[in-house]
């Protein structure tokens, strides 16, 4: 049994950590947090040059052709650094949708552009409140044009193209949903930026009016493709959340070692120690569940749906728990704009919602476990 990353993959992780420590300091993150830039363009360019954007994209489409395990270790570092770039929307959602369902021409058009950092992509799925479901998709596709509104769309305001989920039937079944590719720089699209919980990653409302779109995958396959994309993204996001959890735990630990109160390090009080120990427990459970997700993702195993849901739930809980208690360990200073704690708190809580909320994934996990047991 070798339920661990390889030495090469660990080396890649170290390389990514070093790169991000240099190029993505909290100060750099704050430029985007403070609204002075929509995302960190320099960092994005650097990630492309390092080959990180296309690490799981096959070489024939301009990527490094490494694989999803390599993407997992990079994702962990992106989460640890709180990187203010459209990595998850472009790489986990748009690129994965293209890899699963894109035609050769579509892959040739967009994947090299993603790997080189020229194109930002996203997935336009949600239409207001609610979790992913075929019923919630109202945006209409007919005669090659789309009409409707998507919101929130992650990184929608800076994206060059979007994978759009649309309704092409009214039978009440999953087959009513189809996917489309839309060049957001062409006509028929109106984009509005939305203020949101985590300003280091933008959200937008996109209105499509007789917008030209080409099908992605077969008509009626939309929901099935989306389910696969969300499962893959759940594992990759889980690694970002694991990276974020670890960083928040370290920040809390370091502060507990440095801060003196009542004449002693606050980390010597059991109330503080036990809080930090519990954060370590959450982070460890999340990491282990995520490793299993990585294995399932990289081998395209039949276990992926269950593994993805478990990784998603566990990593979401861990990041929220660690980010929340990191502030608690810091006391009042943790609640200031000046300290970095709130950046992780914001990211943790925004990530908890992005692919559908915890209650959605809890439901999914039990469904999938029942299916497995029945089989």
């Amino acid at each position: 049994m070798n339920f661990d990353f390889s030495d090469d993959q660990k080396q890649l992780r170290d390389q990514a950590r070093k790169f991000l420590a240099e190029k993505c300091s909290p100060k750099a993150v704050r430029v985007v947090l403070d609204g002075k830039a929509p995302f960190d363009k320099e960092l994005w360019k650097g990630l492309a040059e390092m080959g990180f954007l296309g690490v799981a994209i096959p070489e024939e489409f301009g990527g490094a052709g490494a694989g999803h395990l390599e993407l997992c270790v990079i994702a962990e570092e992106m989460g640890r650094a709180n990187a203010p770039v459209p990595f998850s929307s472009t790489v986990y959602l748009a690129a994965e949708a293209l890899l699963i369902a894109g035609s050769d021409a579509q892959k040739k058009k967009w994947l090299p552009a993603i790997a080189s950092g020229e194109a930002i992509g996203t997935l336009a799925l949600f239409e207001g409140k609610g979790n992913p479901s075929p019923k919630s998709i109202k945006l209409a596709a007919a005669n090659g044009v789309l009409n409707g509104v998507k919101k929130p769309v992650p990184d929608g305001a800076i994206a060059d193209f979007a994978v759009v989920a649309a309704r092409t039937g009214s039978s009440g079944r999953d087959g009513d949903i189809s996917l489309f590719l839309v060049d957001l720089k062409a006509g028929g699209v109106e984009v509005k930026s939305l203020t949101n919980l985590d300003p280091t990653r933008g959200q937008a409302e996109i209105t499509f009016t007789n917008c030209k779109a080409e099908p992605l995958g077969a008509a009626g396959d939309g929901w099935s493709i989306l389910t696969q994309v969300l499962d893959r993204a759940a594992v990759l996001c889980a690694f970002e959340q694991v990276g974020g959890s670890d960083r928040a735990l370290e920040m809390g630990r370091d502060y507990a070692l440095d801060r003196i109160a009542f004449g002693r390090q606050i980390g010597s009080f059991q109330a503080v120690k036990h809080m930090l120990a519990d954060m370590y427990v959450s982070a460890t459970l999340a990491r282990s569940n995520s490793y299993y997700g990585a294995w399932a993702l990289s081998t395209n195993a039949a276990e992926l749906p269950e593994a993805a849901a478990a990784a998603r739930i566990s990593a979401t809980q861990a990041f929220q728990h660690c980010a929340k208690n990191n502030i608690q360990v810091h006391g009042g200073m943790g609640f200031t704009w000046e300290f970095d704690c709130h950046m992780y708190y914001r990211r943790a809580n925004a990530m908890a919602l992005g692919l559908g909320s915890l209650s959605y994934w809890e439901d999914q996990l039990i469904d999938r476990m029942r299916k497995k047991n029945a089989a």
Partner: protein, 415 residues
């Protein structure tokens, strides 16, 4: 990343599997599979006798205490082979419960500190289960604070005279030998005046009294010592160095990887899958599903954490500190799981007789045994301290009794 055995591991697994298939007491397999925390019993058989017979059979074929050297009754196997054996032994591994203390704690301590002739005399019958050992550390005045123990050992010629009381001794009532931590110098700080021995539990002056637990069962005992004499050659380690000796014992206590800790989750998931509530199956109820999902990811998280440790062993590396979370997570989880399984039954959940209760009272038994899991082998609080100090590097507690002679430490909270 893969879950495959190396060719060597696969060969070892095949050999182990074939031997277990041919030799295990399979008439008890069903009962053992159905056993859960607080309820391990065999129909029409004395589990102690079945366990001893299985252990002896294993020892005769070289499958006992796999990681011990051959000359002491083991197999000289690698850590990963030990894990593979445990995986293959499956439900029959539950029969090893009565040997865990002896094999996991007493044996390694004897191996590290006893005279060579003692090792050759005492270890093989311990490995084969012919002799059962217990561990005599905890006292009424020293639980988590083990070094606060008061049982006295006083030198008299070539012997030591023991007086005092131990508590929470698992299996003392069927044990042949024990390792005993005593105070030999009360005039120095508490950690500095302790000495370790091993002794025959049939020695004159040893009295074992079972403790009736909250569950009604009796797995533990009080052990009283009245002028019990132990020859000096049964001392383990130097005089007054018992604390260091005990650390060897305690380190071994938590080193058993891959055995898997009980969470109660598989039982609860099965139960919710079959239980009908007013509006349909419990597992289709949203509130039930949310609870199940939260426990599911804890159970799977523990399972994969253990696999990470096994992978390290397979590569010949030392596992990281991750495994220290196991008992802490599983202990309170199984308590919560049992509480919830009863909650789902409404008022009927109170009925606990095996003939009336759901699943023969499995969840009631789990509920009543679970508080002990959160205390034994390191309380939840001690486990959190260990994680905070050894894994996260936080400072140890300020110890107000550290440099105080033991006999000057206050013994009462209020007067």
């Amino acid at each position: 990343m893969n879950f495959d055995d190396t060719p060597q591991e696969a060969e070892f697994r095949a050999t182990a599997r074939a031997w277990i298939h041919a030799n295990a007491p399979r008439q008890y397999e069903e009962d053992l599979r159905k056993s859960s925390l607080g309820r391990t019993q065999l129909k029409n058989a004395d589990i102690l006798q079945v366990a001893k017979a299985w252990q002896k059979k294993k020892a005769d074929a070289g499958w006992a205490c796999l990681h011990w050297p051959k000359e002491y009754g083991g197999r000289g196997a690698s850590p990963i082979e030990r894990v593979i054996w445990q995986q293959e032994e499956g439900p029959f591994g539950k029969l090893s419960a009565m040997f865990i203390i002896g094999h996991g704690m007493c044996g390694p301590t004897v191996m590290a500190f006893a005279r060579e002739d003692h090792k050759r005399t005492y270890l093989p019958p311990l490995a084969s289960g012919e002799k059962v050992w217990c561990q005599l550390f905890s006292e009424p005045a020293g639980g988590s604070d083990v070094a606060g123990l008061r049982t006295r050992a006083e030198k008299d010629g070539d012997e030591w005279v023991i007086n005092g009381q131990k508590i929470w001794t698992s299996g003392a009532h069927y044990s042949d030998y024990g390792i005993l931590l005593t105070r030999t110098d009360p005039n120095v700080a508490k950690h500095k005046g302790l000495t370790m021995f091993f002794l025959d539990m049939k020695s004159p002056g040893v009295e074992v009294r079972p403790i009736k637990q909250a569950s009604g069962a009796s797995d533990f005992n009080e052990v009283y010592f009245t002028n019990v004499r132990i020859p000096d050659h049964q001392r383990l380690g130097e005089v007054n160095d018992g604390w260091n000796v005990s650390l060897t014992t305690l380190m071994n206590e938590r080193s058993a990887i891959g055995a898997g800790v009980a969470t109660g989750f598989p039982e609860l998931f099965d139960y919710c899958s079959s239980l009908m509530l007013e509006d349909g199956p419990a597992i289709e109820d949203r509130a039930v599903r949310a609870k199940l999902a939260n426990w599911a990811v804890k159970a799977s998280g523990l399972r994969y954490t253990s696999m990470r440790a096994i992978s390290a062993l397979s590569k010949g590396e030392r596992p990281g500190p991750e495994n220290s979370i196991g008992k802490l997570v599983a202990g309170s989880m199984i308590q919560d799981v049992a509480t919830y399984a009863l909650d789902l039954q409404g008022a009927a959940g109170v009925v606990s007789g095996p003939e009336d209760a759901e699943l023969a009272g499995r969840f009631q038994a789990m509920l009543l045994r679970a508080p002990g899991t959160r205390v034994e082998g390191g309380t939840d609080e001690i486990m959190r301290n260990i994680i905070a100090e050894r894994v996260l590097g936080l400072p140890g507690d300020i110890r107000v009794d550290k440099d105080v002679p033991f006999n000057k430490i206050p013994t009462k909270g209020r007067n």
